[in-house]
Amino acid sequence: MKVSRIALLLAAAAVLEFFVGRSPYRAFVPVDWFLLGTAAVARSGDFVRAVLTGAAAGSLEDALSQPLIGLNAFAKAVIGYALTLVSVRVVFGGALAVGGALFVASLANEAIVALLAALLAQSPVVIFTRDALWRAAATGIAGGALESAWNFPWRDWWQRRRLRRLR
C-alpha cells in the first residue's frame, strides 16, 4: 500500500473518531477506527508498513485519549505485525474470519494497553470490561462489513440491476 494511501487512511480514521466521538450515538458505534486502518495495511502483507502504521495510528490515538503517548502505539505496532503474519501465513478471507480476527485484535489491544498502563502509570489493571467487549464486537462487525463491501462485485450488481430495469 502506498504511503499516501496510508496517510489518507489514518486521516480518515482520525476524522471518524471525532465524527463518532461528538455524536450522541457514540455508545452504539464504539469502533476502533485506528485498528481498522492498521488492519487494512496489514492485509496487504507488508510487515514494515503495517508496524509503522500501527505505531503512527496508536500515537495519534494516545495523543487524543490516553494519559501517556506510546501505550496504543506499542499495542498497535504489535497487532500490525501479528495481523500481517496472519494474513501472509494463513489462508485468510471472508467477512467472518476478518471480523473474528479484528475482535481478537481489539481485545489484545485493550489488554496490552491495560498492562502497560499498570506497569508504567500504576493504574489498576482493567481488562475485558463490557465496554471493551462491545468495542471489540463493533470493530469486528465494522471490519467484516468493510471486507464484504470490498469484495462485493459492485460492477456486476449494478449492470444486472440496470438490465432488470430495462426489461
Binding site: 494511501r5 482520525a14 476524522v15 473518531e17 471525532f18 465524527f19 466521538g21 461528538r22 455524536s23 450522541p24 450515538y25 457514540r26 455508545a27 496487504s44 502483507g45 507488508d46 510487515f47 514494515v48 508498513r49 508496524v51 509503522l52 500501527g54 505505531a55 495519534l60 495523543a63 487524543l64 485519549s65 490516553q66 494519559p67 501517556l68 503517548i69 506510546g70 501505550l71 502505539a73 506499542f74 505496532a77 504489535v78 505485525y81 500481517t84 503474519l85 501472509v88 485493550e110 489488554a111 494497553v113 491495560a114 502497560l116 498502563a117 508504567l120 502509570a121 500504576q122 493504574s123 489498576p124 489493571v125 482493567v126 481488562i127 470490561t129 463490557r130 465496554d131 471493551a132 468495542r135
Partner: protein, 294 residues
C-alpha cells in the same frame, strides 16, 4: 496494489525485516513511555498539548459536521416516533394531572432538602458551557476531549461538571481543545464528603463506570441513598458539588467500609459540560508550568 519490482516485494513481505522494525518501534515506545512516566507529575506532556492544538480545527470542523448529522438523524427518528409519541403523551397527560398534587408537595419538601444541604446543588464558579468532542473509555481510562483550550481560559486542573454533578477535570490543555479525565477513570480521585453525616473520604473511579468511596470507617452510619458531594479538600474540585448517591455499603477491609456510589452525572449522555473556575492551587500550578523553562 503490488510493488513494481520483485526485490521490493520480497523485502516488504519479509517477516524478519518486519520483526526488526517492530523491535525498534517497541523499544522507541518503551523509551517514550518511560520518559513520560518519570516526568509527567500528573500533567499532560508538551507533545500532547501540541497535538491537541494542531487537531483543534479538525476536531471543531468534524465535530460540527457530526453534530449536524446527529441532529438530522435525530430529526428523522423523531419524525418516525412522533405518532406513537403523540398517543403516549395523551396517556401521560392524564397521569400527570393526577401526579400534580403529589409533586407540588414533593417540590416543597425538595426545596427544604436543598436548603438543608447548604445549596449543594448550585455549582460554584461556572465559567461557561463547552462541547464534548470525543469520549474515550479504554482499559479503565475514561477521558473526553472538550472544545475549549487555553484561549478560553482553561488550565490543567479546571473542574468540569453538569448541573446534576461533577464530571472530571482537565489534564492537558491545547489552544482550542483540551483533554479531561473523567471521575470514572480508574486512576481518578476526588475528596468527597457524605452530605448527611459530614464524613470525609476519597471517591475513586473503578474503571467499570461506577465510583467507590474509600476511607469511610466501619463505625460510620452511611446508608444507601446518601448524597456524596465534593469536599473541596483535594485542591482541585470546589466544595459542595454533588458526585453521586450511595448505592451499596458493605464490609470492606478491617477499618473501612466499602461504599459504592452511583454517579449523579449521566456519563453516557454527556454532550456539553460546564467549565468551573479552577482552584487556586490549579491556577498557581498552571502559571508555574507556563513560566518554567521547557
Amino acid at each position: 496494489m503490488r510493488p513494481h519490482n520483485a526485490r521490493v516485494e520480497i523485502a516488504a513481505v519479509n517477516p524478519r525485516r518486519g520483526g526488526a522494525v517492530l523491535a525498534t518501534v517497541l523499544v522507541a515506545c518503551v523509551l517514550l513511555l518511560s520518559a513520560q512516566a518519570q516526568a509527567r507529575g500528573g500533567r499532560g506532556t508538551v507533545l500532547q498539548s501540541w497535538i491537541l492544538s494542531l487537531s483543534a480545527p479538525v476536531a471543531a470542523a468534524v465535530g460540527s459536521v457530526s453534530h449536524g448529522a446527529s441532529d438530522a438523524v435525530g430529526s428523522m427518528l423523531a419524525l418516525f416516533r412522533v405518532r406513537e409519541e403523540n398517543a403516549r403523551l395523551r396517556r401521560e397527560l392524564d397521569e400527570r394531572e393526577r401526579e400534580l398534587f403529589r409533586l407540588r408537595a414533593e417540590a416543597l419538601q425538595g426545596a427544604e432538602d436543598r436548603r438543608l444541604l447548604g445549596g449543594g446543588s448550585a455549582l460554584p464558579g461556572v465559567l461557561g458551557s463547552v462541547p464534548i468532542l470525543l469520549v474515550e473509555g479504554r482499559a479503565g481510562a475514561h477521558s473526553v476531549l472538550i472544545g475549549a483550550g487555553s484561549a478560553d481560559g482553561v488550565v490543567p486542573g479546571s473542574p468540569l461538571a453538569v448541573p446534576a454533578g461533577l464530571v472530571g477535570r482537565v489534564v492537558t490543555v491545547g489552544r482550542g481543545v483540551s483533554r479531561a479525565q473523567l471521575l470514572l477513570d480508574a486512576s481518578a480521585a476526588a475528596g468527597a464528603r457524605i452530605a448527611r453525616t459530614g464524613e470525609l473520604g476519597v471517591v475513586r473511579g473503578d474503571g467499570h463506570g461506577a465510583l467507590v468511596l474509600n476511607n469511610i470507617a466501619t463505625t460510620s452510619s452511611v446508608a444507601r441513598g446518601d448524597l456524596v458531594e465534593s469536599a473541596g479538600i483535594d485542591g482541585i474540585y470546589p466544595r459542595g458539588v454533588p458526585i453521586g448517591r450511595v448505592a451499596s455499603v458493605s464490609r470492606g477491609s478491617k477499618l473501612f467500609l466499602e461504599v459504592r456510589v452511583t454517579p449523579s452525572a449521566e456519563f453516557s449522555r454527556l454532550t456539553d459540560v460546564l467549565l468551573l473556575a479552577p482552584s487556586l492551587a490549579a491556577k498557581e500550578g498552571a502559571e508555574a508550568g507556563r513560566s518554567a523553562p521547557r
